[in-house]
Structures are given as C-alpha cells and as structure tokens.
C-alpha cells in the first residue's frame, strides 16, 4: 500500500528521524493560510502516489506570499502520470548543502533487508543504477537485526555517503531509526530522496516515500487508515473484499480466469490473436459461485466490454461450481454481451452439462477462445 509523503514523514518524525513538518492543503486558499503559519520561502509539493513529481511540475518553491495562491492552484490542477493532484504539502524550504539517496527495502535477489545508498541524491535512483552502477552502495541487514541494527555494520556504508565524521554519525542514527520504522510498520520500502545536509550541518529527510506490506496490514489497523481512498480504484477495492483480484485495463474483452499466472497468460493470448483485454481478473482458488457473480458485475460495469472470455482450468476450482455461478448471474441480471467459455479440468463434463441450454459460446482450448473473443471484441 502506498502512502503520501506527509504521512511517511509523520511516521519518520514519530521514530525520531528529522523530517520537516508541514501543512497539507486541498485548496489554494488552504495553502495561503498554511503559509501564514510558516516562514518563507516554502516549497509546495504535490501529494500523489507516483515518482517524478518534480519533473512534472509538482514541486515548486515560493519566495513571496503572493506566489503561493497561483502556485498552489497550478499544482492542484495537475494530473501526474494519470493521477489528479488532490492535495499539496506546504513545507518550509531548506538550505541544501549536500544531497544523497538512502532507502531500505526488501531485496528479492539476496532475500534480505537491504540499505541502498548513493552519494548523488535528488535524482532518479533507477537512472543512476543503470548508468553508473558502481555509485550504488548497499548494506544487507539480517531481518532479526532490524530492530537494532549494529552501528558497526552501518559505518562503512554511511562513510560511503558522507565524508564529515559528524554527518556520518548523524546518518547512522537515522539509519538505525529507519530500520526500526521499516520492521515495526511492516514496510516493503522506506526511501529518503533526497537526504540532505543543511547549511547548519544537520542531516535531514527532505522527502519520504513509504510502501507498506498489504499482507501485514492485519496487525496495523492504524496504518490501514492512511489509505487514500481518492487514489484507489473503488472497483479494485470491492473486488479484493470479495476475494477477487481485479485490475481494469483499456480493452474490450472482459476476462474471468482462475489463477493469477493463467489470468496473465490469458490476457497475453488475447493480445496475440489481435484482441485487447478489458481487465485482469483472478477469481481465486476456491470455487464459490458467488465470486463468479461478483466477477460478472465488475466486468460489466465497463461499457467498453463487448465480449467476455471465461477461461477456467479446474483444480481445486470445480468447473461445475463455475457453471453454477454463471447460471446464477444470468438469472440475476442481463448479460448484454456474448460469453466465450473454456472449461477444463475438475468436473468439466458436469460444468458443460449445466450450461448446455445457455447461449454461451463453448470452446475447447484457450487459443480458440481468444481467437473467437478477439473476433467479437474487435468489431466496432
């Protein structure tokens, strides 16, 4: 789960990490009011769940009071990578002497928690990693040590980022605290870019990005409250509440599949035969007919859908249960588009028998199903 910069900074400050406070504004007027409580200059920063805000014009400095209203208005009118900016963070500007990159994340490759650092901060770390991989420093931390990382472990890493002995000590302090936030809040990423040294020699987290592990939210109800409902797709949340995994896409062919890998492969197959999937939908491992009904409702909400392709490979999922779900859906509401169905595996005969009096287009294989669906979905 993504949270906003201002929320991440609050988590950092709670842990004792120096991160400038600020005020969140949802309108230009609120931004003006915020500046009355802060010292100029201020920075106005778009609060959206994407990177590259600066490049997109979502981070601006204001030196004079009269600049605040138009600047806030401009940023609140932006859409950055498809996400409208609904709130801004107004925060005092810092005097930057040095900028570095620091994060702690879970590294899939080494299967451990890892600090990543780079003495060139403030730029996109992916770009640096691709162009000058030698500049990227790392420090693996055993997960059992995260609550109290040894300073000795961190020292060489911190010395790679800062040359001043006092700044190295400050950075180690910050890393110890950051690792604690990381483990206590079940994060998958805590990133500070840039981590700065200001004109007084103080090490400060000028930005903050935190990703939380969705699987661990059950033990952090207070973090669940940080979810920005404006930034989430309501259909995707509804789907998840019903045990479905759903992502809306741009095409015309609705998909209903059991299993995430097969759902992706089904989308790929549709594309291969010239169609365009309208969604990713995994009905999951169990074969509850109600899930099928919910899946139909989600798919049919999209007016672009011209045909639905159902691809089921029954294992634990039983084809007859899927068929019952389809029959229940057809009884409960009108399905105004053709349905192409491929049922294979556990109880496929029973499933087909249940559907024999319906108008469904039955196919034997996925390639055939995708071809048929692409044929229908492609018609204007």
């Amino acid at each position: 789960m993504k949270i906003h910069e201002y929320q991440a900074k609050a988590l950092f400050r709670e842990a004792g990490i120096p991160a400038p406070d600020g005020i969140v504004a949802r309108t230009p007027e609120e931004a003006v009011a915020a500046v009355e409580q802060l010292d100029l200059p201020v920075v106005i920063k778009a609060q959206v769940h994407v990177g590259g805000r600066g490049k997109a014009g979502g981070v601006k400095l204001c030196f004079k009071p009269e600049e605040v209203e138009p600047t806030a208005k401009a940023i609140l009118g932006l859409t950055i990578k498809d996400l409208p900016v609904k709130q801004v963070l107004v925060t005092p500007a810092a005097e930057i002497a040095t900028e570095v990159y620091l994060s702690i994340l879970i590294d899939r490759g080494s299967r451990t928690a890892t600090f990543i650092g780079c003495a060139d901060g403030g730029v996109e770390i992916e770009v640096t990693a691709a162009e000058s991989p030698e500049k990227i420093l790392r420090c693996d931390v055993p997960v059992t040590e995260l609550r109290n990382v040894s300073r000795d472990r961190l020292k060489p890493f911190a010395e790679g980022l800062f040359s001043d002995a006092d700044q190295v000590e400050q950075a180690i302090d910050m890393m110890v605290k950051l690792a604690r936030v990381f483990v206590e809040k079940d994060c998958s990423l805590c990133e500070i870019n840039p981590l700065i040294v200001d004109d007084k020699g103080t090490v400060i987290a000028l930005d903050a990005k935190v990703l939380l592990d969705e699987n661990a939210l059950f033990r952090h109800p207070e973090l669940e409250e940080l979810r920005d409902m404006d930034a989430e797709d309501q259909d995707e949340l509804d789907a998840s509440a019903k045990g479905l995994s759903f992502i809306r896409l741009d095409g015309s062919i609705g998909c209903m599949v059991n299993g995430a890998g097969l759902a992706m492969a089904t989308m790929d197959t549709i594309k291969h035969f010239g169609g365009d999937p309208a969604n990713f939908l995994d009905v999951g491992g169990s074969s509850n007919p109600e899930k099928v009904v919910a899946a139909f409702q989600l798919i049919l909400k999209d007016p672009k859908v011209k045909v639905i392709l159902i691809n089921i490979f029954g294992g634990i999922t039983r084809c007859d249960d899927i068929a019952r779900g389809i029959l229940a859906s057809l009884e409960q509401f009108e399905v105004p588009v053709p349905i192409v169905i491929r049922l294979k595996g556990t109880n496929e005969e029973e499933g087909r028998a249940l559907l024999k009096d319906t108008d469904l287009i039955t196919v034997q294989g996925l390639d055939e199903g995708a071809t048929k669906a692409a044929g229908i979905g492609g018609d204007a």
Binding site: R111, V257, G259, G261, L262, A265
Partner: protein, 286 residues
C-alpha cells in the same frame, strides 16, 4: 528417478486439523503420499485420518522419521509454524499458505537457512513426482510419470502446461511450483541443478512471469551449466507497469523485470520462449 521427493518420502502436515489442511491431507493420502502425521500445537496426542497429531514438527520427526513438512497454516500464524519447522530435523519445508507478511517470510527463511532446510513457497501449489508422491494442492490426474521437469512461479498456468506435456506423451519427472511471492525459498537457480543431475529428466520447462530477476539469473545459469534442453514461458506480456497482477511478486518495477526483457534474456542465452501456452510442448524435442 525424480528430484526432492519420491515414493519413500515421509511427510508431516502442519495445520492438518484445519479446513484446507484436512481436505488436502486426504487428497495426498489418496494419491499414495506417505503422510505420517500432522502437527497442530496443543492438539498433540489426537488422531486424524488414522494419523497421529503432534505438538511440534520435531516431535513428529522423532516419532515418524519424516523428512518433509507441508504447511497449510493460515497466514497470521505462518511465521510461528515455519519457525517451528526450522527447529526440527526435516530437510524440506513446503509452505502452501498465501498472504504471509514478507518480513515474516524473511525471518523464517533466515532460520531455515541456518539449519540447511530447503524451503519451497510460500504461496505455491507444492510439488509432485507423478505416480509416487504429491505434496501440495495440484490436481493429481493431469500428471503422468515421464521425462520433463517443470519449475513454475504459477499454479493454474502450470496445470495447463502439465496437461499439455501429459497429452503430448512427455510426462513429468517432478513438477515444482515455487510460489508467487516476492520472497520465495527456492528460485529457478536453486532447483535447476537438481534437474540437471537427475538421470530421468531429459528436458526442463521453466514457467516464469513478470517481476524480479529470477528468470534472468536462471538464463545465465543455464547457459553456463546446463546440458539438458530448457524451454520457457513467461506470463504477463500485456501487464501494465506498477500494478500487482494477483501474485504479490508479479509487479513490473523497472524495465528489466518485464516479460519482454525476460524473454529477451532467455532467448539471448539460447533458451526458446513460447509465445503461447499451447506452443510450449512443441518446443521440446527429447
């Protein structure tokens, strides 16, 4: 021959007394898997399906000589169960459970590593040596003893490919679902050497998907070490970046973990990658 498990493998089931655990225990017993007992803390001394229940994995190991434990414990309690397995003398832990917090998996993985216990999963369908031993949740009837090894990050997608292998007459030596999470105990490169060493395995099918670097690592390992033919399929060519496609591990982060870049890396190492599921078996010639 096969890898990791065969007809003599003795298996404990952690969470056997739960709903999923008892259902799949019965399925495994019906298949012929030597289920020698279950583990549920606090229920030691009871019996289920004629098998003894133990309070801890080690208790079960001492009483039965089991070398494998398979886990159906709910995600909230999975860490404790995995740490319990890490205190025992088993050789292999198969964690079926989906949705375990990543830091819990990491902690358990570290503990298992220290004891040299191999982990498969979490969030996986398990593994099967057809005709001998099934450990997990995969449908048994699609598998047939044969000569192709399968390693996959997916469940139903693998069943689809296995069905094709069986229909085409290849059959399988062992099929392993390694799991769809970002942190998994056994990756492609951890298992490929076992298939390379197994006499009966004549070819390997690798089923990957978007997210992570496992396929790229595997490609390099195969090029350097593998004498047997490997073919691959990568799901998620059409997946949009930044979105988690069902599996927690299936998310395109940067340019190098897309399906296209994985396909390119594999093909660059001489490993054919099927465009369609139905083409996988056509790429195998043994």
């Amino acid at each position: 021959m096969s890898i990791l498990i065969n007809k003599d493998t003795k298996v404990l089931v952690q969470g056997m007394t739960g709903r999923d655990g008892s259902f799949h225990s019965q399925q495994m017993i019906d298949y012929g898997t030597q289920i020698v007992g279950g583990v549920t803390p606090g229920k030691g001394g009871q019996e289920l399906m004629g098998k003894p229940i133990f309070n801890s994995v080690q208790e079960g190991v001492e009483a039965t000589g089991a070398t494998v434990s398979v886990m159906y414990v709910p995600a909230k309690f999975a860490k404790e169960a995995m740490l319990d397995a890490a205190k025992s003398e088993i050789e292999l832990l198969v964690t079926i459970t989906e949705g375990i917090p990543t830091l819990d998996v990491l902690e358990a993985y570290e503990a298992l590593q220290k004891r040299n216990i191999r982990l498969i999963g979490p969030n996986c369908p398990g593994l099967i040596t057809p005709g001998e031993c099934k450990i997990g949740i995969m449908p048994a009837n699609i598998h047939k003893p044969g000569k192709v090894g399968v390693i996959s990050r997916s469940g139903t997608l693998t069943y689809e490919i296995v069905q094709d292998l069986t229909d085409a007459g290849f059959g399988e030596t062992t099929c392993i679902g390694v799991g769809g999470d970002p942190i998994i105990g056994s990756k492609f490169i951890d298992l490929l050497p076992l298939f390379e060493a197994d006499e009966d395995t004549k070819a390997v099918v690798l089923v990957g998907e978007i997210g992570g670097q496992d396929e790229v690592q595997a490609a390099e390992w195969i090029k350097a070490n593998m004498t047997k033919p490997v073919v691959a399929f990568i799901a998620g060519q059409t997946a949009p970046p930044g979105r988690r496609m069902g599996h927690a591990g299936a998310i395109v982060g940067g340019e190098d973990d897309t399906a296209a870049s994985k396909k390119k890396a594999l093909e660059g190492m001489g490993i054919p990658v099927a465009e369609l599921i139905s083409q996988v078996t056509k790429l195998i010639s043994v």
